[in-house]
């Protein structure tokens, strides 16, 4: 049920209003997270692309702060789950409780019944709890005791995880990771930003002073506008080329899924719209390739031994892949077009 009707999503926003709304959100978040405009815009783009965000970095760089700032900038329901090893699936999805007054079971919604769900330290929970998120993230619905409950729109899961301290953690399974549209790293702030942070955050938590600048309805409109962004055939072809390249790269044991292609293009639409364009550029795909693709792929044992990260592999692919043209052929690329020699459907390598 990802595909809402126009009415559910909301109407289109004119160019100027779109720009104003999106800039307001970004500016609002930047009050809290200083000097991370690109990361902030990417987070917003994932929201507009109806995706989920995985923030992965060392402790203390502001993962949770970004998640909360984004949630608070939008006037919508926000729930926070602190993942712990003893967290149960019912804590996430909700549970049916016997009401003695009515002599009936009544459903008490879990944490996912909100527009924005912030899952902190998601890799601390046991796999069964992690998989409780599977259905809601992809299908935007929750089934408890045979009853299916629809989630609200917009719905976004922002999860954080700590890649350093792996003891007592349960790394996200591949299926779970594939459901996150993008994985971003916060990175340390530069010197100037850190100084500003000391000045501003010294006394109070800036989150407290943060006021919503948008609401769920506006976000729905933004999402609808993003869906209208034009994608040329050449860009689609380029996305396919990129994903195919990950599937055929010798360094990778597992390539990106078709869902990755879809989400790559959706996110690219959002990025383009945020930049004020009504068409997607291959540049957008190039920028998004690492955040969107890198966490879904598995390098081979050799590549791991050589300490090649998936980020490096993907960015190298991007630099090697020639650009497709919507015209027949580039004048300087005269390799035979090989008619009728299309590759068969991709067969995954046996790990």
């Amino acid at each position: 049920m990802t595909q809402q009707t126009w009415d559910e999503v909301g109407g289109l926003l004119p160019h100027d209003e779109f720009r104003a709304a999106s800039e307001a959100i970004v500016a609002n978040i930047e009050q809290v997270i200083e000097g991370k405009t690109a990361t902030v815009r990417l987070a917003l783009a994932v929201l507009l692309a109806e995706g989920h965000l995985l923030i992965e970095d060392v402790p203390g760089v502001g993962k949770t702060k970004l998640a909360k700032a984004l949630a608070r900038s939008i006037d919508c329901s926000v729930r926070r789950i602190q993942f712990t090893p003893d967290l149960l699936p019912s804590d996430v999805t909700g549970v049916s409780v016997y009401n003695q007054e009515t002599h009936d079971f009544e459903f008490r919604p879990g944490a996912v019944f909100a527009n924005l769900v912030v899952g902190d330290e998601i890799n601390r929970a046991s796999p069964k709890t992690q998989s409780a998120l599977l259905e809601c993230m992809e299908e935007r619905q929750v089934t408890v005791d045979g009853v299916t409950y629809q989630l609200q729109t917009p719905f976004m899961v922002i999860a954080t995880q700590n890649p350093i301290e792996m003891e007592g953690t349960y790394p996200l399974p591949e299926a779970q990771r594939d459901r996150f549209t993008a994985r971003i790293a916060m990175g340390y702030p530069d010197a100037g930003a850190e100084l500003a942070m000391l000045d501003g955050h010294g006394a109070t938590d800036p989150l407290d002073g943060l006021h919503p600048v948008s609401d769920a309805a506006t976000v729905r409109q933004l999402i609808a506008t993003v869906r209208q962004v034009h994608v040329a055939d050449a860009v689609k072809q380029y996305a396919i080329d990129l994903v195919t390249a990950t599937r055929e790269a010798p360094d990778l044991r597992l390539g990106a899924s078709p869902r990755a292609t879809l989400q790559l293009l959706r996110t690219a639409r959002a990025v383009a719209a945020l930049e004020g364009r009504d068409y997607v550029l291959p540049d957008d795909l190039q920028v998004l390739a690492v955040p969107v693709l890198a966490h879904r792929i598995i390098p081979t044992a050799d590549a791991q031994l050589a300490r090649r990260t998936t980020d490096a592999i993907v960015s190298e692919l991007v630099h090697r892949l020639p650009l497709p043209h919507d015209r027949k052929r580039s004048p300087y690329d005269t390799r035979p077009a090989a008619p009728g020699q299309g590759r068969g459907p991709y067969e995954p390598r046996r790990p």
Binding site: P14, Y279, L323
Partner: protein, 826 residues
């Protein structure tokens, strides 16, 4: 041990193949039989020794002993035990043969005959090489080294022939060597166990190993060539088997050119009885200065072997030209001998193993020891050098005879060496015999008989000069000529020699030069048109006396003598019947008269026809046209580039007043600008054209192009790297990038922007930053055009290769081997 035995056989075969070059220096193929026997015995001895597990030195001894046995059997001295066991007498005989071979090598010219000493040394040499090759290839397992002794065989014809060694025998020898190498390699591989095919794919049921198959094929090819070559007359390998066997190998036309073929320098000494004289090109061959007032012909060759189709040259033999025998003193009434001095200068176009001389030379100067004089044939020849660009002087004795003196000559005794040497032998042709009998009826002296035959070739009897013979129906060239009565010097000379021989008087055909028509004082310049042939008749106690039966009008510079006057001389001229003196006015008048009378037959007039003024005038326009064409050719890439730029920039930018239509309010209330389709397409095409032009410009100015870059990235990079110092170009570049980006990826292309000026600005900025050489190249030989052409060429060739490969694959499907292999596999 089968591998070794096999390798030994291969070594023997390779040695025989490597001996192929010897065919170039032998007249016949007898040597091959002897050499094959010797090599076979050597190989057999080696195999026997190996079968007995003899050590290496014993193998060598065995092979040497086998060689000695073979030589004893082939060249017996008569005192051997059981015909093969050599005795001391045998070895003494071998020593004699060796000494004789040295002598023979000195006296015979190339294409040596089958003399015992020469055959002996050849067999010994090939047998020794077989021993060495076997030792190296089988004993020491170093087959690569075996190439050296094999090459030694090839060096023999190289040493003998100076300028032209036939290449085919070398190829045969090389094939033998390769066969040896391949056989050895296969043997090595086989020791490791089973052999696989080279590429590991489809094992052929017929050929276990492609390498071995390649070796075998090479060897089979070599043997086939070696066998077929002697049967087929190949240029460069004279004395082919068919010719020697006397079959009718070459037709009359093929052999009938007396130096009149493509190369005027090499004169074919063959007096054919039919043929066609075809000469378009005139080349100076000889310049001769003599103090003799009216010399007889300059002479350099003799053909004395008579076949049914004409006279043929036999191989000369003689002594070094330095110690010439003094010409025989012939005294007698009517014989006059005078000494003269002459200097001959041959041009670079005359390349013969013979040198032109006046007969009979006495004292020769300025010639080295490579030149020999054949006393019988009276010619100077060499086995190693040729006559190209030589200059030498000599004294010579000119003998003149009165008819009376010749008439005194007696009949030659039957046991005279010339008669024994078959100088009077003729093929049996009844018509000729009948004619000769009729002609010499009633003549008593030899001279009268010869004169009767000589006079027969006169205009009165219907003989005339023509540059080609007519074909007849009798099947005999001589009869055809005597019936048709037309021909040129070769036919006259050969026919007269034949008839004289038929009268049992020794005769032969001599070749040389007439005195020509280009005389400057004492110096005569002789060209290939002055080549001539005439008859020489032997008179007892006098020697060889020349007779020229060819009609004088056909030969420029023809000379007649007292004993052989011009038979066609017009009646009023009185000198010839009563001619006692040497002929007056020998060179000019007959030729001059002849050229008037039968102008199409003589060839002197032609060389005068080509005048200088007609040649000189039109030279520079050709040069100019050539230079212009070259310039045009060089300008093609630049022109192509200019045309391309004009075509791309020629369009006006999609009109600034682009039709913009307000579609109105969208579903969500937003307005959108939509450009009408036609204009959008045009704007797109414009942006693409501008971008293409930009890329070409970048290639021209050697700026890197990255196919992974988007237009925006390209523009950013250029702005940073190349255009940073040109503000205007930066804006222009961004505009171009945006236009291309919009044209490619957006719904609506950018319209109304001034792309052409932007392009100009970028181009100007790039040109300003580039160095002079790059700028010049970009203007004259634009790399973009060249690159495009190169890519197109590579593309085409790749496609061609693919097509050919497919066709080959399709054809190979019908390969019988594959079909059979597939069937057996099934």
């Amino acid at each position: 041990m089968t591998g070794r035995r096999h390798l030994g056989l291969v070594a023997a075969g390779a040695t025989l193949l490597a001996a192929a070059p010897l065919s170039a220096i032998f007249e016949r193929w007898t040597w091959l039989i002897d050499a094959a026997i010797a090599v076979a015995v050597v190989a057999g001895a080696a195999a026997l020794a190996r079968a007995l597990r003899a050590p290496l030195w014993a193998q060598v001894l065995g092979m040497l002993a086998g060689l000695a046995l073979a030589l004893t059997w082939l060249f017996p001295s008569g005192s051997e035990l059981l015909a093969i066991v050599p005795t001391p007498t045998t070895f003494a005989h071998f020593g004699e043969l060796l000494g004789g071979s040295v002598q023979d090598m000195r006296s015979y010219g190339v294409e040596v005959p089958d003399t015992d000493p020469l055959l002996f040394i050849t067999t010994l040499g090939v047998g020794s090489v077989a021993v060495v090759v076997d030792l190296l290839a089988v004993g020491l397992r170093r087959p690569a080294l075996a190439g050296l002794p094999m090459l030694a065989i090839y060096s023999v014809p190289v040493a003998v022939y100076v300028d032209s060694v036939p290449p085919v025998p070398f190829v045969i020898g090389a094939a033998g060597y390769l066969w040896l190498l391949v056989a050895d390699n296969v043997d090595r591989v086989r020791r490791f166990g089973r052999r696989f095919t080279g590429d590991g794919r489809d094992v052929d049921v017929w050929e276990a190993s492609p390498l071995a198959a390649a070796g075998r094929r090479l060897a089979v090819l070599g043997v086939a060539v070696a066998v077929l070559l002697p049967l087929v007359p190949v240029p460069g390998m004279n004395g082919s088997l068919l010719d020697n066997l006397g079959g009718g190998g070459g037709g009359g036309n093929g052999n009938g050119r007396a130096g009149q073929g493509g190369n005027p320098g090499r004169i074919d000494l063959f007096a054919a009885l039919s043929g066609r004289l075809n000469e378009s090109e005139v080349v100076d061959l000889v310049k001769v200065t003599t103090n003799e007032p009216s010399p007889f012909y300059l002479r350099f060759g003799v053909a004395d072997e008579l076949r049914s189709d004409g006279f043929r040259v036999t191989n000369p033999s003689g002594k070094p030209v330095r110690d010439l025998p003094d010409p025989a003193e012939r005294v007698g009434p009517g014989i006059e001998q005078r000494r003269y001095q002459a200097t001959v200068e041959t041009s670079r176009d005359l390349a013969m193993p013979l040198l032109p001389f006046y007969s009979e030379p006495a004292n020769v100067e300025d010639l080295n020891a490579n030149w020999y004089y054949d006393n019988d044939r009276q010619i100077v020849f060499s086995n190693r050098e040729n006559s190209r660009g030589k200059r030498y002087s000599f004294e010579y004795v000119r003998s003149t005879y009165t008819p009376a003196a010749l008439r005194n000559s007696r009949k030659l005794p039957a046991d005279h060496p010339l008669k024994r040497r078959q100088q009077t032998a003729t093929p049996p042709v009844p018509e000729v015999t009948e004619l000769v009998t009729r002609l010499i009826r009633g003549k008593t002296t030899e001279y009268d008989k010869v004169r009767a035959i000589y006079d027969y070739f006169s205009a009165d009897n219907g003989f005339s000069y023509r540059l080609s013979t007519e074909t007849g129906t009798s099947g005999q060239d001589i009869v055809d000529f005597l019936t048709n009565k037309v021909g040129f010097c070769q036919q006259y000379a050969a026919a007269m020699a034949w008839l004289v021989r038929a009268a049992n008087i020794p005769a032969r055909v001599a070749f040389g030069f007439t005195n020509g028509s280009n005389r400057n004082g004492d110096t005569y310049t002789l060209t290939n048109r002055n080549l001539h042939a005439w008859t020489e008749v032997y008179f007892d106690e006098i020697g060889w006396v020349p007779f020229d039966a060819t009609p004088a009008y056909g030969v420029a510079g023809s000379t007649r003598s007292a004993w052989a006057p011009d038979t066609d001389a017009p009646d009023p001229i009185t000198e010839s019947p009563g001619g006692v003196d040497p002929p007056v006015d020998p060179d000019a008048s007959p030729g001059a008269v002849g050229s008037d009378k039968a102008d199409e037959d003589t060839d002197t007039g032609l060389s005068i026809g080509s005048d200088t003024p007609t040649e000189q005038a039109p030279v520079w326009p050709w040069w100019a046209a050539g230079a212009l064409a070259l310039l045009l050719l060089l300008a093609v890439p630049a022109l192509r580039r200019v045309a391309l730029r004009r075509r791309r920039g020629g369009r006006a930018p999609a009109s600034a007043a682009a039709t913009v239509e307000d579609v109105g309010v969208g579903p969500a209330g937003g307005t959108r600008m939509v450009v009408v389709g036609g204009d959008a397409d045009r704007a797109r095409a414009d942006a693409h054209a501008a971008w293409d032009e930009l890329l070409d410009t970048l290639v021209d100015y050697r700026v890197r192009i990255d196919r992974t870059e988007t237009p925006r990235a390209t523009a950013d990079r250029l702005v940073q790297d190349a255009l940073s110092s040109h503000a205007e170009a930066v804006t222009a570049m961004r505009l171009l990038g945006r236009a291309e980006e919009r044209a490619r990826y957006a719904r609506d292309p950018l319209t109304g922007e001034p792309l052409a000026p932007a392009l100009r600005a970028v181009r100007g900025a790039l040109a300003a930053d580039a160095d002079r050489r790059t700028r010049l190249l970009a203007a004259v030989l634009p790399p973009s055009v060249l690159l495009r052409w190169r890519i197109a060429m590579a593309d085409t060739s790749a496609r061609l290769v693919a097509v050919v490969g497919q066709a080959r694959h399709r054809l190979l499907r019908w390969n019988p081997r594959r079909v059979i292999a597939g069937r057996t596999a099934r």
